[in-house]
Symmetry: C2
Subunit: 307 residues, 2 copies
């Protein structure tokens, strides 16, 4: 049982196609196919079977891939122990962030991490509507994701979920709005309003449904945006009200005020998603530690300012 081949099988289990594995590992599909064939011969049982144009793992293949993941973890742990021994987190950590938190927290995080010699963080942002967070852990070491509390759709995938922040979602209003003087708002205040929503399927939607249910009528959603900058601009321009995350919106212009929502739980959970094997790496753990610390600062400081 060669480890490199087992690792290929693990990748196949995650990515689902020979071609995808080949791209991810920088090889030709032919090479991957050959190696899988050899592994199959070594294992003594078919690991894949054809399904349409592609292939799927057999149950045997899944079983072996699971073990392969454990081996990958042990190997990564060996690396981590070694890094710790040398006290030198080595290598590059790739990080994927959604825009709001990327703008708010990441600069401070990366600044702090510059202190660590030999550690290179390569961060990218992405459109959260585009793809599933979990899929992306195959390509990035750390994926910053957000979801509603209680809903953790990626727990079953065997991913490590590191909670960073529970961020209240306040209601953003123009400073001139009739409700702008209130200390807080309720569902009945808000069902009358025109809303700026998110594209269908986004987690924020659930809260809006809760407001509708509690307020007794449907709200009007005038526009749908995923980018917070646009939403803020539209709030200011008087096109409606919207959920605005309390901490990760940066400095808001004075024309825009945030009011907490009462009676309806409105918060989003911000977490870091990591594959268990990459979570073993010291470099990755170092980045995670700083992320957690900065998120805590943000939560404490932001809560103080918000209260």
């Amino acid at each position: 049982m060669d480890v490199r081949r087992l690792d290929l099988l693990r990748e196949l289990a995650e990515r689902g196609s020979v071609t995808a594995v080949a791209e991810a590992t920088g090889r030709t599909p032919s090479a991957v196919s050959q190696q899988l064939k050899v592994l199959e011969r070594e294992a003594g049982a078919p690991l894949t079977e054809r399904s349409g144009r592609g292939i799927v793992l057999t149950s045997a293949g899944h079983a072996l891939a699971r073990s392969a993941a454990d081996v990958a973890i042990a190997l990564a742990r060996a690396d981590a122990v070694w890094d710790e021994f040398r006290n030198d987190p080595s290598g590059e950590v790739t990080l994927l962030t959604f825009p709001t938190i990327g703008a708010t927290m990441l600069p401070a995080v990366l600044t702090e991490l510059q202190q660590v010699p030999g550690l290179v963080v390569r961060a990218t942002d992405f459109d959260p509507e585009l793809a599933e967070f979990a899929e992306l852990t195959a390509d990035y070491d750390i994926v910053l994701a957000h979801t509603m509390p209680g809903v953790l759709p990626w727990g079953g995938r065997g991913l490590r979920v590191v909670p960073l922040l529970t961020e209240p979602l306040d209601i953003g209003l123009p400073a001139t709005h009739r409700l702008a003087g209130r200390s807080h708002l309720t569902a009945s205040d808000l069902v009358e309003e025109t809303w700026l929503g998110v594209p269908p399927g986004f987690p924020f939607e659930r809260i809006l449904h809760a407001i509708e249910q509690q307020g007794g009528r449907r709200v009007e959603i005038a526009q749908r945006f995923s980018d917070m900058r646009i939403v803020e601009a539209f709030i200011q321009a008087g096109f409606g009200v919207a959920f605005v995350p309390r901490y990760t919106s940066g400095t808001l212009p004075p024309e825009l005020v945030l009011k907490p929502l009462r009676g309806v739980p409105s918060a989003r959970q911000i977490v870091a998603l990591v594959r268990p094997d990459v979570a073993e790496r010291l470099a990755v753990r170092t980045v995670l530690d700083v992320l957690v610390a900065k998120a805590a600062e943000l939560g404490a400081g932001g809560a103080g300012a918000g209260a």
Copy 2:
């Protein structure tokens, strides 16, 4: 960090010399040396240093070797899971036994294991005086060892110790002996006797010391043998009394009787020693299971006959 190289380092940690690793893995010392050099380059720190003619691991080397052992375990576990999945314990299990238990238990064990298709057990016996039990786990999958209860000198080595049997050590007497009618014996009965001992350093010696201490005088040791057959013959011939393991002596001739010793704890612990990574293999675990079961039978049946 290549796994094959890590494994070589693990072997080096166990065997202590490049030449020994080369022999054990069927390579030339040059090949081993080269691979270790590459690993050292990859690791970025010296792993070995010269010590006289040979080499020793640096502390860094030890740290990495430890992780390498964990990787070996994960890899072996993958094999085991796979074997279990196919429900087919594959491969060969090598077993090293000391003579007494080899004669008593092993035939039944191997008979039972013949039922298992595809499992080959290769057993060898050895002179227990020759070498340290623990060292031998590098060359054999399972090493049957015996020691006094409470004394487990191989616990610290990271070996898995599977207890098989706590075997009382009775006193063997000629049937014509003045004490042969007793139901049991005490230390004061025995300090007067001429003894057949074991070579110096053998575990049985401790019990004899306890008898001397409790009986108030030193006993006379006429001969020293390690082989039980010889001891039994000498007992019958009237040359003295000796410790005889209760269960593992096979069928004794009627000229020889066994009497339990009271007042002095006299038993030996029979255990199986296994390296943790090989302990993961299903084939090895299968053999261990049968060993434990047969030892339990022997203990139950032998205790019934002895009481």
